[in-house]
């Protein structure tokens, strides 16, 4: 083991908070792309004010990225 251990505190490690949020987003992104691949017909449904699920989910992924990024910034600052 070197002193550049990725789990160390010398700034070369990704934080556990970051990794947790990363996996949350992987689930969201993977789930959406899985739906596009397997059941694209479901994305044509219009459950929200006449706008279809494809657009709602796509916009949601963009907003989710921003929300997680801001949450990460505050969580890291608080530590």
């Amino acid at each position: 083991m070197t002193d550049r251990d990725p789990r160390g505190g010398d700034g070369t490690a990704a934080s556990p908070v970051g990794l947790t949020l990363f996996f949350v987003y992987v689930l969201l992104y993977g789930g959406f792309m899985g739906l596009v691949l397997v059941r694209p017909d479901l994305l044509a449904l219009r459950p929200f004010g006449g706008v279809n699920l494809a657009i709602v989910a796509g916009m949601g992924l963009i907003v989710a990225a921003f929300v997680l990024a801001v949450a990460y910034m505050f969580l890291r600052s608080a530590r």
């Binding site: 083991m1 070197t2 002193d3 550049r4 251990d5 990725p6 010398d10 700034g11 070369t12 490690a13 990704a14 934080s15 970051g18 990794l19 949020l21 990363f22 987003y25 992104y29 959406f32 792309m33 596009v36 691949l37 694209p40 994305l43 044509a44 219009r46 004010g49 006449g50 706008v51 279809n52 494809a54 657009i55 796509g58 916009m59 992924l61 963009i62 907003v63 990225a65 921003f66 997680l68 990024a69 801001v70 990460y72 910034m73 890291r76 600052s77």
Partner: protein
């Protein structure tokens, strides 16, 4: 289509370009060191760096390519937006702070920080060059596409103009001027795309927008004759006999009765109204005979709802073809993994002072880039129904949408698109010149250089890369720029991400493992692309049935391959020796 220029367009365009160049020369007057040239002394404020991230990242592919793809094929272009943004999650949560702590000037510095290996420096420098060049191609193609309608000059002139301007920007002040050019460009791009979106929503949806009567739905044929003449429907192309602009709404939803316009709409109402409208899009079909090469543009009546769901561009999503679905999955994986592997994005982490600034600037970047990608959907759909599209050029959708409002807005949007190209290309040339001068000549070849010589060497490399970019921009002129960027993301993700991630998370990673992963990842993805159906059809002009690979986008195979190679080679080689301190230069 024949495009004509106007004095105001030229004036606004010249003001933008000269302003950017003036700023660059002004910044270049300050004394320089190698640290200033390659990393802006690490003193850029995190907010400026965050917007500069947007300026770096929102390339011609994002602006011109995605808008064009949505305008001609519907929702599928927005999938690119989603994938491009999602990649920033990898950058923020996994890469940002460690890469800042590990490196000095270039991506190779970071990967080599534990090993001091010439092999790593060489392989990473080559992969940086390959990725940068593949990313440069679509930017230059986009530049050429813009120049033709804006200034009435040939595609080649646009490419050369960008090449010369960017090379001047980079050689005058390096990373300092590159950062400020990207900051200005990122701010302008997001702001004016917001303005354009407000105008789109204010106009609402109109039947046969931009024309007196109904849209002429007769097919149009463009022929490039054997003697080089261009014919439209069999007659020579002139101002009075040209292709008609296309893309309109044929019928509004029933709730609007006989009205020809919806009037102003909110964002959700706009999308809902488009879902229930009937839209005319135009498909292109090519064939050749003794008379020349013919392209027939034919109208297709489509329900708005069909254009707002996946499958318009990625046909395999609706036909169920397995190879096409794997191709799509591979592209989306590459977009997700590729952002954090792009050398010109990674070097921007060295322009801020510490890990916290790197983190904050990434969040600002995600905010600006996220807003922009939401706007791309409205820009693309606005262009689709504007009645202003050039059926021969998908990349011109956004500027022509602006032209449907006013010539001034067209000039402003085109000038911003041009600075978009300038910003991204300058970042790429910076990354490439760093790879040549700092990694290859100084670290691999062991050339001893003074600070002044390092800068001069970087500038010479920038000039060389500028020339390469111009040649490739002319050769690849007929490609959609988003499609071309997909290749760059695949190569970046396959060559760079496995080594970077494993270096951070697996202490058993060895230098041989990194060299093997970068080399195999780069070569395998490159080979896959060169042997794919897309390349056979669109580059070689051969039948796509002759392709060797089962689908065109390599990431699904070559990214895991990079990880696998790294693990196997690392396990087969001696573990790295403990070191007492970071080997940063």
């Amino acid at each position: 289509m024949i495009h004509h220029t106007s004095f105001i367009a030229v004036a606004i365009f010249a003001t933008f370009v000269l302003g950017v160049l003036g700023l660059s020369f002004w910044l270049g007057r300050k004394g320089q060191s190698a640290s200033g040239y390659y990393a802006a002394h690490g003193q850029i404020h995190w907010f400026v760096n965050g917007i500069a991230f947007a300026g770096d990242y929102l390339s011609a592919a994002s602006f011109l390519g995605i808008c064009g793809m949505i305008a001609f094929s519907g929702y599928d272009g927005f999938l690119y937006s989603i994938g491009f943004l999602a990649g920033w999650i990898v950058a923020l949560f996994v890469i940002a702070e460690p890469i800042k702590a590990l490196g000095t000037f270039t991506f190779a510095d970071a990967l080599d920080s534990r090993f001091n290996s010439r092999g790593i420096k060489l392989s990473v420098a080559i992969s940086t060059l390959v990725v940068s060049i593949f990313y440069l191609i679509p930017q230059m193609v986009g530049a050429g596409s813009l120049i033709t309608p804006l200034l009435g000059l040939p595609h080649e002139v646009g490419v050369v103009l960008v090449g010369v301007t960017v090379t001047l920007i980079v050689v005058t002040a390096g990373m300092v001027s590159t950062t400020w050019v990207q900051f200005i460009k990122g701010s302008l791009l997001v702001f004016f795309c917001g303005v354009l979106t407000v105008l789109i929503l204010g106009r609402g949806l109109e039947v046969n927008a931009g024309r007196e009567g109904a849209e002429n739905l007769a097919p149009q044929v463009r022929t490039v004759a054997a003697d080089g003449r261009v014919l439209i429907d069999g007659e020579p192309q002139t101002d009075d006999h040209d292709l008609r602009p296309v893309g309109t709404i044929l019928k509004l939803p029933e709730r609007y009765g006989e009205a020809r316009s919806t009037g102003p709409l909110g964002p959700l109402a706009y999308l809902a109204a488009l879902e229930d409208s009937t839209v005319v899009t135009w498909s292109a079909k090519k064939h050749a005979d003794d008379a020349g090469r013919h392209t027939t543009y034919s109208p297709v009546e489509r329900r708005g709802g069909d254009l707002l769901k996946p499958g318009g561009y990625f046909k395999g999503l609706t036909t169920g073809n397995l190879a096409d679905r794997l191709d799509f999955a591979s592209l989306m994986l590459a977009l997700f993994c590729g952002t954090a592997s792009l050398p010109h994005i990674l070097i921007r982490y060295y322009t801020v002072k510490d890990g916290a600034a790197a983190r904050k600037s990434t969040v600002v970047g995600i905010a600006a880039i996220g807003v922009f990608y939401v706007l791309t959907l409205f820009l693309g759909l606005g262009a689709m129904t504007s009645g202003a599209l050039d059926p021969t050029d998908t990349n011109m959708a956004a500027p022509l949408l602006a032209k449907s409002f006013s010539n001034t807005l067209f000039a402003v949007i085109s000038a911003i698109a041009f600075t978009t190209v300038l910003g991204t290309v300058s970042g790429l040339i910076m990354a490439g010149s760093g790879a040549v001068a700092h990694d290859l000549l100084e670290n691999v070849c062991g050339m001893q250089m003074t600070d002044h010589e390092k800068i001069r060497c970087g500038k010479l490399a920038a000039v060389g890369l500028g020339i390469v970019a111009m040649v490739l921009g002319i050769l690849f002129r007929n490609f959609n720029v988003s499609f071309l960027v997909g290749w760059a993301f695949n190569i970046a993700a396959s060559a760079n991400l496995p080594a970077l991630v494993m270096l951070l998370f697996w202490p058993r990673t060895t230098r041989q493992g990194i060299v093997a992963a970068v080399t195999i990842g780069m070569l395998s993805s490159l080979a896959w692309i060169l042997l794919s159906a897309d390349t056979f059809e669109k580059v070689y002009g051969l039948s796509k049935d002759m392709a060797v690979t089962p689908f065109s986008q390599p990431g699904l195979v070559t990214i895991p391959l990079g990880f696998l190679v790294l693990v196997i080679v690392s396990l087969l080689t001696p573990p790295p020796l403990p070191v007492s301190s970071p080997s940063r230069r």
